[in-house]
Symmetry: D2
Subunit: 227 residues, 4 copies
């Protein structure tokens, strides 16, 4: 127990400057990881493979993809909104996983963790485009997880909501009394999950302690969904 849990692990974090990126990098490093903080946008079809190539050998890939969540009604959601959301959240996921897996499979070791969303697990108003994209992510992870488990590679997801982060809960949202009421009413925890709490769980899921998890979706949302 004297070694930090991620000592000697090279971990690539995507879009390291947005969403959970900064806290992930800090907390993973505190657990001993050698963090490669990639800040490229991931929209371009070639960015995912390039990010992996630049990172070199890695032990874990933390897929952190974010986009300001559209809040249009389903009747108003434009094709552009739809396409942009999938271009930001969904298409890069498959390209990142496709680029990362071969080396992991070859050496029979590796972990991929998606920072996904619980909005895929429970319906919300004005969130249909976003929920759809986040739903694609979780179901993808479940199937890839089962597929690569025999190669000793673990692919899992956190499904978060009501976690402190600058993309979805910037200070002005947190300060809004209406938001505070919503939090008290809808989130059994009674507060936002701290960014560092979420990142610490991500660190656990990147460590050797998590060899046993296969294509699993872990809600981190203060009890907003239970399973």
């Amino acid at each position: 127990m004297n070694q930090p849990a991620l000592s000697g692990k090279r971990i690539l974090v995507t879009q390291a400057d947005v969403f959970m990126g900064p806290d992930l990098c800090t907390v993973l490093a505190e657990h001993g990881a050698d963090v490669i903080a990639d800040t490229q946008a991931m929209h371009s079809p070639h960015a995912p493979a390039a990010a992996l190539a630049q990172a070199g050998d890695i032990d874990a890939l933390v897929i952190n993809l974010a986009v300001p969540a559209p809040t249009s009604l389903a009747t108003e959601a434009s094709d552009a909104e739809w396409n942009d959301t999938f271009a930001a959240l969904v298409h890069p996921l498959h390209r990142l996983v496709r680029a990362a897996l071969p080396a992991m499979i070859a050496r029979r070791s590796g972990k991929i963790l998606l920072m996904g969303s619980a909005s895929a697990l429970r319906g919300m108003k004005r969130a249909s485009t976003y929920s759809a994209a986040r739903g694609a992510q979780l179901s993808y992870i479940q199937s890839v997880g089962v597929e690569v488990a025999p190669h000793q590679v673990q692919v899992n997801a956190i499904a978060q909501n009501f976690v402190e982060n600058p993309t979805y809960f910037p200070p002005e949202v947190q300060a809004n009394p209406k938001f505070q009421q919503r939090l008290a009413r809808e989130v059994p925890l009674g507060r936002l999950v701290g960014a560092r709490e979420d990142a610490a769980f991500a660190a656990y899921l990147c460590s050797d302690a998590a060899h046993c998890f296969v294509g699993q979706v872990f809600p981190v949302c203060g009890g907003w969904v239970a399973r």
Copy 2:
């Protein structure tokens, strides 16, 4: 109880010649519905709105979208495969719902039922692209269902697997002894769900008896998933 449950209901079924389409049309009509069987491909961005416009006033929209399921590994899945699958299953869903909702909301009545897939609920090997697309569908339905419930419009989904249909379980697959063993091993029902059983449940969910369901996902898969 003397009237058939769908008597007087105009129901639009998309891609009525593939997947569950033929059985849906037959069974919905047997329950008294006036079925509009649309056989257009839904890839084109304009097809969904056109199908709705051609159908005129409808009481229910049954979204039946299918594509031969890719069986590549996650490491092999090409961008073309990915894009084609989403173009067939995901993007038309949002366009169909967007086109159908305004009239339903205006008259405070209407039902949308997606013929979705349980492959979004449980991981499977060589199914990552398909699972991702089907996952987008279910999470989208959950959020739209919650959003439009106050307008007395019901949006729900069947999440099927191991249901008899020519797209995924053609006779040659059903006849394959390996498939029969898989069925015996993985599906507690011990047989494929009949196409007419699935369509009868769809008919129930299109009827006035189903006013109480909101953004709900109903597995129809012979016990392959339980919830």
Copy 3:
């Protein structure tokens, strides 16, 4: 489609005078069933087998068990409260199923439907005793359903909440403004599910149309839980 769906079916409803009992009996009969409305209390170890014996041959058993839900905190729940709740909801379930199955298995046909509760699927304050008992019910049904499916016997459950019934939502509760606010806030449907809507779904699950469902839990709760 000319025959009512339950024509010729003998269906035993337990505790037919409480909870969903009266509406179940009415609606099942409207669908053509020959309803045996048993009004015995089910606490006694011998009551379940006696009820089955008195009913004679049946096609379906609808297990309707209710008890006023305790509202104590977990710190206050007495052993007496705990034991009484399990005596009312849990122990009779296993005795009823055990008594009903042999004849169904012998003739390779039969259905058992539990009127269960969604309180087992999502945490609620001041509901721990009740949730525990309702959770035992649902998990039991899942396993028995899988076990007896090869015998052509179907065992399933409705997991209801926010369904109109005199046991849990008597008129004075429904008239309470605080309850109405809670309904608006927590239940996407925006109203209680009607007792007849719930009973109609139960009728569907007792009909031959439902041969394909195995150990499945169907939420009926106005969107309070989605899966």
Copy 4:
């Protein structure tokens, strides 16, 4: 990160000599905890409160309850089997939680972790009695978790299956070729989860890092269930 995660924590483990008990005690201690290993049987109504009283102040309670799982069919399960299983797994749970909570609520800090079972989440043949008891456990935890979250007390559960332990998977079972085939077929991980892997996750859920989890059920079963 220099301090072990459970340094200074007093943790009571029940039935410390069976099921996950020995590995829990070892691993929790390796993480720095001061472990109170209680080996009393928990059937007696007074044992739970006595165990808590003897333990004195604790930071966490790990509820480890086990009984050889009955394998009778639902048609054969005797009242004695049913009552014994609930007496071993269910009734002590509520008594342990009731005894542990007041002190935790008073000092606004504490964790309760149930070592539950995934057999409550997915149906299995010849497991109805056991599934029912395990289902009561999980639903109870969900509701208590929500209830006590405002007091800064966290109550959660692991839902395990296919985890190495002497109670359910003794060496002779593991050595059985039929069991090995079942493992290969049904468990995506392709092996039993190690007892130490499971215990390490329990240690995480007892640490301050897990303040954010509320009434949550975490499957640990090698992918046998995904959510």
